[in-house]
């Protein structure tokens, strides 16, 4: 049991810290002060959330599919295109140029989102 506690202390704390950062990121986005540490978008119930993320140049956005159904993350303008992402699979893309990047799921095109790079 003690071993477990130590394990939690060592490994879980950074994870919890990361989670806190995640929770904090929407407000950072609202202030246009998103960090380059990475922004996460999750797919839940056929929705990209948050639907719009604002990141600085050089930031990496990571999408994770939480649905029981595969999805894709495809730039509407052909800038990036993920392979099909099944449950819990991720896709990351690093944005090196400022601009607005609309994207969608090519399997379920009603699913759309936008990455704004400033």
């Amino acid at each position: 049991m003690k071993k477990n506690n130590v394990w939690i202390a060592i490994f879980a704390m950074p994870a919890i810290a990361a989670l806190l950062m995640l929770v904090a990121s929407p407000s950072a986005t609202a202030n246009d002060q998103a960090s380059t540490a990475g922004t996460n978008v999750v797919i839940d119930n056929f929705v990209f959330g948050p639907q719009t993320v604002t990141v600085p140049v050089g930031a990496t956005v990571t999408w994770t599919n939480h649905d029981d159904i595969p999805h894709t993350v495809v730039s509407t303008e052909g800038v990036f295109k993920s392979k099909v992402r099944d449950t819990d699979e991720k896709f990351s893309y690093t944005f090196t140029k400022p601009g607005t990047y609309p994207y969608y799921c090519s399997v379920h095109p009603k699913m759309t989102g936008t990455v704004v790079v400033k």
């Binding site: 119930n45 056929f46 029981d68 392979k83 099909v84 099944d86 609309p102 090519s106 095109p109 759309t112």
Partner: protein, 345 residues
């Protein structure tokens, strides 16, 4: 013989009146309880009636031919909504093999696989080998074109087809058209046929007699069921304009993993159950994702569709049979509430 047919039609009209199924009700007909709904079309008059009530009568009518529609096998899916989709496909095939009227062929309306993996297609092929009907016609679902723009699908199931896999064929006087509405989907849109396919369709139907029964089949519904979930096809109106002049048009789709039917003029629309897992009724869940039902109820919400075609009488009967029912006989379905006018708007 014509008298007998007329009797049947009269009987059906009578039932229609008794059931009180108006047009709106018919639009919303759903066989949620895992029962079946039979409908026939005679001379452009759509007639619906409860399967349980009339199936016995129906069985006595010799059809010119029968074919079966299966859909949405999703081989490779292994989530809680159905951890063994290969087994339920097998059950569906067993059901087809046990049909009293041997089907001339099977139509699979797409989503053969979950992830377009070769191993998934292999498993599907292996399972379908057990079907008594050896001829199987396919159209792709979006799950069959995930990784390679449908190359794998076309190589396996689309030999001799046009474009992304569309084609037509004739069978005993009826004209069948397999359409693809899952390729090149546009952001924010629903299913799409595309200009090239629409042109081909117009040309394919040109010159055919208006009395030719037409069957269109495609994966995503060719009528708008629920745009919020993408349950429709953006340019289906164009396609349907080409079939308006025909006396009998049947549109068979899958994708939504539940039975829905609608009749518009002389065009009858029908969606089939999946052989893999159910999906929620439009708008009744946060998303269209797989619906988990208790294990003992799963076979009531999966199923097959068989279509009895009486070409000479231009009448058509569609019977949806859940996997859980032994055979599509009245006794197997008695007690199920059939026509439920639920979900408005």
């Amino acid at each position: 013989m014509p008298d007998k047919k007329q009797d049947l039609i009269d009987q059906q009209l009578q039932d229609l009146n008794n059931d009180g199924v108006d047009r709106r009700g018919f639009l919303k007909c759903m066989a949620w309880a895992g029962t079946g709904l039979v409908w026939t079309m005679s001379g452009g008059i759509p007639v619906s009636r409860a399967f349980a009530k009339n199936a016995g009568k129906d069985a006595g009518v010799a059809a010119d031919f029968t074919f079966v529609q299966i859909s949405d096998s999703h081989i490779g899916f292994n989530k809680p909504a159905n951890p063994d989709v290969t087994a339920t496909l097998q059950t569906a095939i067993n059901k087809i093999n046990a049909m009293p009227n041997k089907p001339d062929f099977i139509i699979h309306t797409g989503d053969l696989s979950q992830l377009s993996k070769p191993s998934e297609f292999d498993t599907l092929d292996q399972s379908l080998k057990a079907a008594s009907a050896k001829q199987i016609f396919f159209v792709p679902g979006e799950h069959d074109m995930l990784s390679d723009n449908g190359e794998q699908y076309l190589q396996r199931y689309g030999k001799g087809t046009k474009g992304a896999g569309w084609y037509s064929f004739d069978h005993k006087g009826a004209h069948f058209v397999g359409l693809v509405n899952v390729a090149n989907l546009k952001a924010g849109g629903m299913g799409s046929l595309g200009h090239e396919q629409l042109e081909w369709l117009e040309d394919d139907l040109k010159g055919r007699s208006a009395s030719t029964p037409i069957v269109l089949f495609a994966h995503i519904p060719l009528w708008t069921i629920y745009p919020d979930w993408g349950w429709g096809t953006d340019d289906s109106a164009q396609a349907l304009s080409y079939v308006k002049r025909f006396g009998s048009v049947t549109v068979l789709n899958g994708h939504i993993h539940q039975i829905m039917q609608k009749v518009e003029g002389r065009v009858s629309f029908h969606t089939a159950m999946s052989t893999a897992f159910p999906q929620p009724a439009p708008g009744t869940a946060p998303s269209a994702g797989p619906m988990k039902v208790p294990a003992d109820q799963l076979q009531q919400v999966l199923g097959i569709t068989d279509v009895n075609y009486l070409v000479s009488g231009r009448s058509l009967a569609i019977v949806d049979s859940p996997l859980g029912a032994s055979t599509p006989l009245p006794s197997a379905n008695r007690g199920g509430s059939l026509i439920t006018d639920s979900v408005s708007g």
